[in-house]
Symmetry: C2
């Protein structure tokens, strides 16, 4: 079984953010999802039972009102690496969030995030890891 | 040890395409990498020893001159799903390539590729799979 109910804040309600927010909500966690464009919340599953916050995550006020101070996990998943860095650093160092996970598009920037105690998921790195198997002779992953 | 030397054609020399072409070349395979923008080849590793072709992969002539007919593996990694579909279908059905792997940005389109005998790697799906582990309580993957 999973651990107890967590409080999860997701910044960015694009394809990835909406999927993660929906999954977390369906698993019974408390979820707040944040995006500057209200229409992006349409991507959430119809069973999503968390809260939505409209605001620009590049502004400190948005991060504060998204109740990051109470979060067990913060996901920084906007489509902008700089905004994700701002979210991550505020969450870790101002609000003391233990677990911060950021999407980083530019693999060269991953180290900067990691040195700030942020866990990184990089789509380019994931894709290259996956594709290497085909070269190595795997027929299917 | 790996299987014998393969002939690999990579369409799209962006971050992902250039990384895969470089890896394949360093592993001793014969590689052709194709992009419509000649400057993109700067991304290739300095040890890349394959060939480059400048051309628009949305045009049949480009696919033909990229020697797809002789390929063991074709990677369709441009940043456009429709172009990747065109590359994939031409490679599979006109040139008879056994193994065609395509990057598909829109997860909803993955099935269409798969029904055409093309293996799909989708960055959104990979990211969501990876991020789910944090929700499920994993501290680190």
């Amino acid at each position: 079984m999973k651990r107890s109910r967590k409080f999860i804040v997701v910044f960015g309600c694009g394809r990835i953010g909406s999927a993660i927010a929906s999954v977390a909500s369906m698993k019974g966690h408390n979820v707040i999802v944040v995006d500057k464009d209200e229409r992006s919340f349409r991507r959430l599953s119809s069973e999503f039972s968390g809260f939505t916050v409209v605001g620009d995550a590049a502004e400190f006020e948005t991060i504060k009102k998204s109740q990051v101070a109470n979060a067990d996990i913060v996901f920084a998943l906007t489509n902008d690496d700089s905004t994700n860095y701002f979210i991550s650093v505020c969450s870790r160092y101002i609000f003391g969030v233990e677990k911060v996970v950021a999407r980083v598009y530019d693999p060269a920037k991953a180290k900067i995030f990691e040195e700030s105690g942020v866990e990184v998921v990089c789509p380019v790195t994931l894709m290259v890891e996956k594709l290497r198997f085909y070269i190595d002779g795997g027929d299917k992953l």
